[in-house]
Symmetry: C2
């Protein structure tokens, strides 16, 4: 299919690359800055138009709006009338589909659940893609489009997608931050942080066969007040870490009081 | 070497198994209950004594105390006089070595940094082992013992080990809890929680080549107040999750304000 991209950030770059590799044509790339638009167009190789002017978008069968959440509204307000005949989708976890209702009669959402970093390739095949549309015909097109790049395509309403996004913040962004805090503590005391890696690997390897509830270990899981108090005492000089340690431990303790 | 084990929990079981597979002899196993002592002795195969009476421990070159933190003191108080000639070590992250000072003149610590679940085998070779002793000769013995089961043996003081343990709680126990909370949210809204797994895998795969600071993604990383507020609004009915979401987001935001 012919696709025009609105946005050239991490997600737009990975998604456009996967779609092109699956045989689709990216006919134009818009970005707020000419620099990013050109950079993505160059990466993709055979894009005809890179632009920082929405009016220069090349009409296409599908328009993919993949910009920061708070920039979507501005894009919608300035949507070019020549682009109202195609399917318009956004890729945001938390925004409702209806936010782009005025751009076209065929709208939808294509939300790939993954964490994208620049220059770190990902295997799109294994990324769950969540889709939504305001009509059956468009949903079928999005189903086909998503299936061309991913093995796991799931229909999900805007409301459900919002729940999913919150869950993903815990399971990805907050997981990474817990590791970052562990590293910080190691670095602060001159212990090589990479010695934590086998532990982190095993923590996550378990999850492929076990429910996280059954994997929980540590002082809070055991209700070991002596160790928890010793750790809180040690973190006394760092109010932020002390509060996090205490609140997360309380949350773990509560769960195992309820079930054992 | 000849080793007597005090304790038969998850860590004791995995450690005793690894030591036996490395060619050492486990000559006796003590546990608070006869049931656990026998169970571990049976798993190991050729142990002569399983007991719930400390006085029945078989004298050995090394005694490994691997029980819950708050049970170590009781073991020390009742330590049999016939066992005062060997090396006595404990395996706890947070307890100082000196806690077992009265058991023998040669004391130490052998702390394997890993999360152990029952019936889930681990590869000990890749587990960092942190050792400490009150004298050089004993330290050498512990170095040899630990090296027989692990490729990464590191000397660490009691004070440093305490820091390490707090870091490990963040990087393992709290990581697992963040995933557990993500699963809870998915289950609560009827979305298959296993669709989070590719995301979690990628989050951790990145850590093998990138510093966690450089891997951070998500609304708090971007300072995206609109999404954070929408998520807090959604969590309004669950005060515990709302507080955790807010505190962890603040902690992420603070780090990226400082550095960018």
């Amino acid at each position: 299919m012919n696709i025009s991209f609105i946005g050239a950030g991490n997600l737009a770059t990975h998604l456009a690359t996967a779609l092109m590799n699956a045989g689709h044509s990216i006919v134009s790339v818009y970005s707020r800055t000419m620099k990013s638009a050109s950079e993505l167009a160059r990466k993709l190789g055979n894009v005809n138009v890179a632009t920082d002017n929405l009016e220069c978008l090349v009409p296409a069968e599908i328009y993919i709006i993949s910009v920061k959440d708070d920039a979507v509204e501005t894009i919608v307000e300035r949507w070019p009338s020549k682009c109202r005949n195609g399917i318009v989708v956004h890729t945001a976890g938390t925004l409702p589909m209806t936010l782009i209702a005025t751009t076209s009669e065929q709208i939808g959402v294509l939300y790939p659940l993954q964490t994208f970093s620049k220059n770190k390739p990902v295997c799109f095949k294994e990324i769950p893609c969540f889709i939504e549309s305001n009509n059956e015909a468009t949903l079928k097109v999005l189903q086909a489009l998503a299936s061309s790049i991913s093995q796991m395509v799931i229909e999900l309403s805007s409301e459900e997608r919002k729940h999913l996004h919150v869950a993903a913040v815990f399971a990805c962004n907050f997981v990474n931050h817990m590791v970052a805090l562990g590293y910080e503590l190691m670095e602060r005391h001159g212990i090589p942080p990479s010695t934590l890696l086998p532990l982190i690997d095993e923590t996550v390897t378990k999850l492929s066969t076990m429910h996280p509830h059954d994997c929980q270990t540590g002082p809070a899981r055991r209700g070991d007040k002596q160790v928890i108090d010793a750790h809180l005492e040690e973190l006394k000089g760092d109010e932020e870490l002390r509060i996090l340690y205490e609140e997360i431990s309380k949350s773990i303790i509560r769960r195992f009081q309820q079930t054992t």
